[in-house]
Point group: C2
Chain length 339, copies 2
DNA sequence: TATCTGGGTGTGAACGCTAACATGAGAGTG
DNA sequence: CACTCTCATGTTAGCGTTCACACCCAGATA
């Protein structure tokens, strides 16, 4: 087995094929004016030498890298990281590479740092999944000049493309189904303060809850974790409020809600209805299976690449909102008869 | 606000600071022999110009990119993608960049393709999370010459560093606790055939199950999803086997197991004990909370970077196995008295 | 026959950086 | 005081591509 210590270069291919390096370049870039015969010769030489084009050199010469940077916060693992892999596939199928940076804190300066690195790298574009307004702002500030797509429900100045899943629409569907079942006293377990999705979901709940008496229409803040949903439910039940339904801002917290109710001897949906959000893996097998709102990460990712490529091509900014769909299972039922 | 059409280059910084471009380079690379005064001048110029070093050019000149490619399969979302972000953080803290490629199929050629791309890019190293032996083999074949770390439980030729979480140890703990509680008839819901982790977990079960009568010690294959755990359980119960415990190869399938048992009116752990694997988000709030095996993705990621950097530095290959820990909750209990 | 056209090809110079060597000014040595 | 040695800096030549241009030779046109 021979060992090529330095990989072959374009010049090597050219020499073997008996042409100039520029001709090799033309073949590689599918330039029209290369004769079929030459093209064949060059391709043969490429094959025999096992030549691979050096992308760093190409990036230096052309100024673009075909790398896009994706920024995700990993505070809430489920959503973003699922989207990340989907974005990667969409990118790769279009000939782009994905570099990733995950944020561990909610400190906006960390986002700014990561963006700076992407820029150092010469990333052709940036997709930032911003779960807080501060992260969105920091991203825009740091990404000066580089085409950027914000996946966020936050407020963004004109001229920047944005994309998100319709949080308001999803939450509306959740509340609509509960109201349709006759519920008026609906408690809410919200996501953490400052989180944009949590904010939208909560404000829809606040607008749509029929019985606005805060003694019944309690809202307790969670942190997306199942445990926080459990604690929130215990708190609701200790508070003396007696809602007939609980709308949890995500499925993991809904798991905690279900467990707390189960421990207290309440059956779902007979004694209490529960609706979640996300259609998390396993939600179909919660006890009982969870009625929830599904977010289409696949569609999100496709749209993300599309918008980003538009931005890279200097086309005008657009905003796309992907619809969320209601998934009806059995955790939400008719309001119980008064006891 | 001024618009710099072409970003400033090293020469610009040098001109402003009144030194040569090489001196600027030295400052950037922390070369020792630069006087404090010059260093200061250069840093000032860098700041006023907003200079950022062009990493493509650097890569071309030095031959290394400080990019590492990470290959994950996204068939089973939970594990790998959690590990991905942790690896990214470990990498970034060491000055490396992470490019990611996710596999959508189990086709080994897709893995080979992705690896080739990483190599085109000049990745300094590759971390592949290989869930099948075929993926591991394809990775090694394609990564000729580039330092590679395989995160796998598969068989790997000497000279290649490997890393994994101790699947056998974890499964052993799961079986040990069940046996300690008096269970002898233990069914298994396995992961998909060909998956390395699934294989190890299953074979430990097979070795350790006390009652080896296949009529009781049933093994049903799932696909990691909650629904498959549900169906497997239904199948077990329809088969006439009467195990007193079920060991599910992951927590999501365990969710399905719990739901199926619940539907059939069996209570856990009174009528049946259940143990999962992974400590998935939400497992603490399953009904009842799931006894499971936790995998430390954080430790895995740190070790991954360490091993890969060793490989890049041409140090001898090593293999590290991260221990898995038992998390005792309430889904496993003493074997029920015969009815 | 002289002149244009244009497809196919080669030549040189970037791109922005680092490596290797060259230089010059002081400090230390005999 | 000539000699070396060190430190700080400058100079030159790549790294492997692509871009802009020059070139050549056929066939078409005048």
């Amino acid at each position: 087995m021979e060992i090529a210590h330095t990989p072959p270069t374009m010049a090597d291919v050219a020499a073997l094929a008996g042409v100039s390096h520029q001709t090799v370049s033309r073949v590689l870039n599918n330039h029209p004016s290369v004769s079929e015969k030459t093209r064949q010769k060059v391709n043969d030489s490429i094959a025999t030498l096992g030549y691979r084009r050096n992308l760093a050199a190409r990036a230096l010469a052309t100024g673009d890298t075909r790398i896009i940077g994706v920024l995700v916060s990993n505070t809430s693992l489920s959503g973003p990281s699922g989207a990340l892999l989907a974005i990667e596939q969409a990118a790769r199928s279009r000939g782009y590479w994905v570099a990733v940076a995950g944020l561990q804190s909610r400190d906006p300066s960390e986002a700014a740092d990561a963006i700076s690195h992407f820029i150092d790298f010469g990333a052709d574009g940036i997709i930032a999944i911003a779960q807080t307004q501060a992260a969105a702002d920091a991203t825009l500030k740091a990404s000066q000049g580089v085409p950027t797509l914000l996946v966020t429900s936050g407020v963004v100045p004109p001229g920047i493309s944005t994309l998100d899943i319709d949080q308001a629409g999803g939450a509306t569907q959740a509340m609509t189904i509960l109201r349709g079942l006759g519920h008026t006293r609906i408690a809410h377990v919200s996501g953490p303060e400052g989180d944009l999705h949590a904010g939208v979901r909560e404000s829809v709940w606040r607008e749509m809850v029929p019985d606005t008496d805060p003694a019944h229409s309690l809202c307790i803040e969670g942190d997306w974790s199942a445990g926080s949903g459990y604690r929130a439910t215990m708190q609701i039940m200790a508070s003396g409020a007696c809602p007939t339904a609980i709308f949890a801002a995500n499925d993991r917290m809904a798991f905690g809600v279900l467990r707390a109710l189960n421990e207290r001897g309440l059956t779902v949906p007979h004694d209490m209805s529960v609706v979640g959000f996300d259609d998390f893996e396993g939600s179909d097998c919660a006890i009982p299976p969870l009625t929830t709102i599904r977010q289409d990460h696949e569609a999100l990712s496709q749209a993300a690449m599309e918008l980003l490529l538009e931005a890279i091509a200097n086309q005008p900014a657009r905003a796309i909102r992907i619809p969320a769909t209601l998934v009806v299972r059995s955790s939400a039922g008719a309001v119980p008869r008064p006891r």
